[in-house]
């Protein structure tokens, strides 16, 4: 079984060479810049139409209702890091279909096409207002940011990269949880990533976890909840089980504002709820306070 999969993967290598080139080019340029002028975009919350460029300039926050639109990994890098400082690491992972689930490959292909990424997690070296960090971003547009074998491995790799370089780690979480199609392998990624965070803590390195909409399931129940400081983006849905599952289980309606970032702050589960406009500033402040004012 393994033999055949590896063979298949070997054939994929050829296409990957070409893909990598395109991929790197995409990473380099800011996606924010190539929104055509005059294109309208609708806020998913208040349904008002805005010129796309305005929303992009507003860091994908609806100017009317302050709704934080979900951000793609590339955009998140662009809006968080200093221009041109990002160097992507951990390329070349190939997601396989270990349990031979029907339709998994097609779903992956579709997500690859819409996001231009190979997997739901992207990490690398970057600088936030001059402070060097290892940054990792989960992309909720790629199969709901779900954690399969490759995402788990890349998360651990980013932690190990931070360990080797002795840099703070900043992670943006947006995930529906474990990837169902990879079954038990996905579940084991929870243990794997949490253990890696423990290693990081043992070395006295800073781990900032930023929870964005949505953070649920296996990801929230592993490395996402283990940051030294946990920030949450305004209005984000954060929790272990999704609201639909809870409703089904307890057969009652849920309280107003349940499982939002504000609710979690009230319950003492996150350190701070931050507006997207203030996120970079807050991160910079935290990094400065943990670095003894040292910039590179």
């Amino acid at each position: 079984m393994r033999h055949e999969l590896l063979k298949e993967a070997f054939e994929k290598k050829k296409t990957l060479k070409r893909k990598l080139k395109v991929y790197r080019e995409k990473t380099a340029e800011k996606r924010a810049a190539d929104v055509p002028e005059g294109l309208y975009e609708q806020c998913p919350s208040c349904k008002t139409n805005f010129i796309a460029e305005d929303i992009v300039k507003n860091l994908l926050v609806c100017p009317k209702c302050e709704h934080h639109i979900r951000v793609r990994a590339h955009d998140r890098m662009a809006m968080t890091l200093d221009e041109g400082s990002f160097i992507e690491k951990g390329l070349g992972y190939i997601t396989l279909n270990p349990l031979f689930q029907d339709g998994y490959e097609q779903k992956l292909e579709k997500s690859k096409k819409t996001t231009g990424s190979d997997e739901a997690y992207m990490y690398g070296y970057g600088e936030i207002k001059g402070f060097p960090v290892v940054i990792g971003v989960l992309d909720s547009y790629f199969m709901m940011g779900s954690m399969g074998s490759v995402v788990g491995e890349k998360v651990v790799k980013s932690i190990e990269y931070a360990l080797v370089k002795r840099l703070p780690l900043v992670m943006f979480i947006a995930s529906g949880g474990a990837r169902m199609q990879e079954g038990i392998y996905s579940l084991m990624q929870m243990a794997k990533t949490s253990a890696a965070v423990e290693k990081l803590a043992g070395q006295g390195l800073l781990f900032l976890s930023v929870l964005t909409h949505p953070t649920t399931g296996g990801v929230s129940a592993s490395f996402a909840s283990l940051g030294d400081v946990i920030l949450a983006e305004q209005g984000a849905l954060i929790g272990f089980a999704g609201p639909r599952v809870i409703k089904q289980t307890i057969k009652q309606s849920l309280p107003e504002g349940f499982q939002t970032a504000e609710f979690l702050k009230e319950k003492g589960m996150v350190d701070k709820v931050v507006h997207r406009h203030e996120l970079k500033g807050t991160l910079e402040k935290l990094l400065r306070m943990h670095s003894g004012g040292r910039k590179r």
Partner: protein
């Protein structure tokens, strides 16, 4: 015909055996029973094993604890909020070795099930488990955990008190302890709720238990939008002990009698005990450092993927 129907048929045969007094007829029916067991009750499908894992007569964690460990002393509470009855924990003895035992407890009657919340722990349950594991680590006691839960409880209270945080802290801390940790899945191993006490040096499963990322019903309704396809989902999910052994997730399978653990509980307890003694003897030889690092690398290497070999990428650097 699933295993429960087969079981009914077998029970009918056994009831007949009780009724008869003619020597020849007894012999005849005994042969028929054995025949039936051999022909129909082996080679179970994945769905059969799901049904057996959820069987209402299946030994619960408390039964296993009472019959495998001597002098079990239950310890209560997480020191933060409450005592969760769906997690039972304490100290016990096995072959003159003191161990900490933690198990997820399901009930048999309705009242028991309400008290134990159908085996679905709240955050305070996981925090109690963590407290006991820390204690075990302090006094250098091996930890044995018994997994039997449909999953961590999804509810308003659980979310408010930080279900994900509790599970994450357990996963993180369990990678650090310098004592042997031996999780055994005795029934349902449901998702993060099972893994939260299931990170160990050697992980075992009872033959007819299951371990999966979510229930087959949930899987079918999420991926196929039809929860009635649970039977097919069980087959596709690779959740039986044999599948997981093949995938390298667990280290061993503890054999069950034909027809499931509830049909001969004593043999199951005996099998669990002998396996535990063996495993403890092996792991006790390792130093805390070895236990920690071997556990870490065990989970570090879990996953199934392919990484592109950069040798083939001449001219493109990363």
């Amino acid at each position: 015909m699933n295993i429960l129907d087969k079981e009914k048929k077998l029970e009918a045969l056994e009831a007949e055996l009780e009724r008869l007094d003619d020597e020849e007829a007894i012999q005849d029916i005994k042969i028929r029973i054995e025949d039936y067991k051999r022909k129909a009750m082996r080679d179970l499908s994945a769905w059969d094993r799901v049904l057996l894992a959820r069987h209402k007569e299946r030994p619960t964690a408390r039964e296993v604890i009472d019959n495998v460990f001597n002098d079990f002393l239950e310890l209560h509470g997480d020191r933060l909020y409450a005592d969760d009855a769906s997690i039972v924990g304490g100290i016990g003895e096995i072959e003159h070795q003191v161990v900490t035992v933690i198990g997820e407890q399901k009930g048999k009657t309705t009242e028991e099930n309400i008290a134990t919340n159908f085996g679905m722990p709240h955050p305070e349950g996981y925090r109690k488990a963590l407290r006991l594991m820390r204690q075990a680590n302090k006094f250098n006691r091996p930890i044995v955990t018994l997994i039997d839960t449909p999953g961590a409880f999804p509810g308003v209270g659980a979310e408010s008190r930080g279900q994900s945080n509790a599970i994450a802290e357990n996963l993180k801390s369990m990678s650090r302890f310098g004592v042997p940790i031996i999780p055994i899945v005795i029934g349902e191993g449901g998702s993060g709720g099972a893994l939260a006490i299931g990170v160990g040096n050697q992980v075992y499963m009872l033959e007819n238990s299951i371990y999966s990322i979510l229930s087959p019903e949930g899987y079918a309704s999420i991926l196929w939008k039809d929860s009635s396809l649970a039977e097919e989902a069980a087959e596709a999910m690779k959740l039986t002990s044999y599948d997981l052994k093949e995938l390298g997730i667990i280290d061993g399978i503890i054999a069950e009698p034909v027809g499931g653990a509830h049909r001969d509980k004593r043999s199951v307890y005996k099998a669990i005990k002998s396996m535990l003694v063996q495993s403890l003897a092996y792991l006790s030889q390792q130093s805390p450092f070895e236990l920690r690092t071997s556990r870490y690398s065990k989970y570090r290497n879990m996953g199934f993927f392919q990484r592109f070999n950069y040798e083939h990428l001449k001219g493109v650097t990363t």
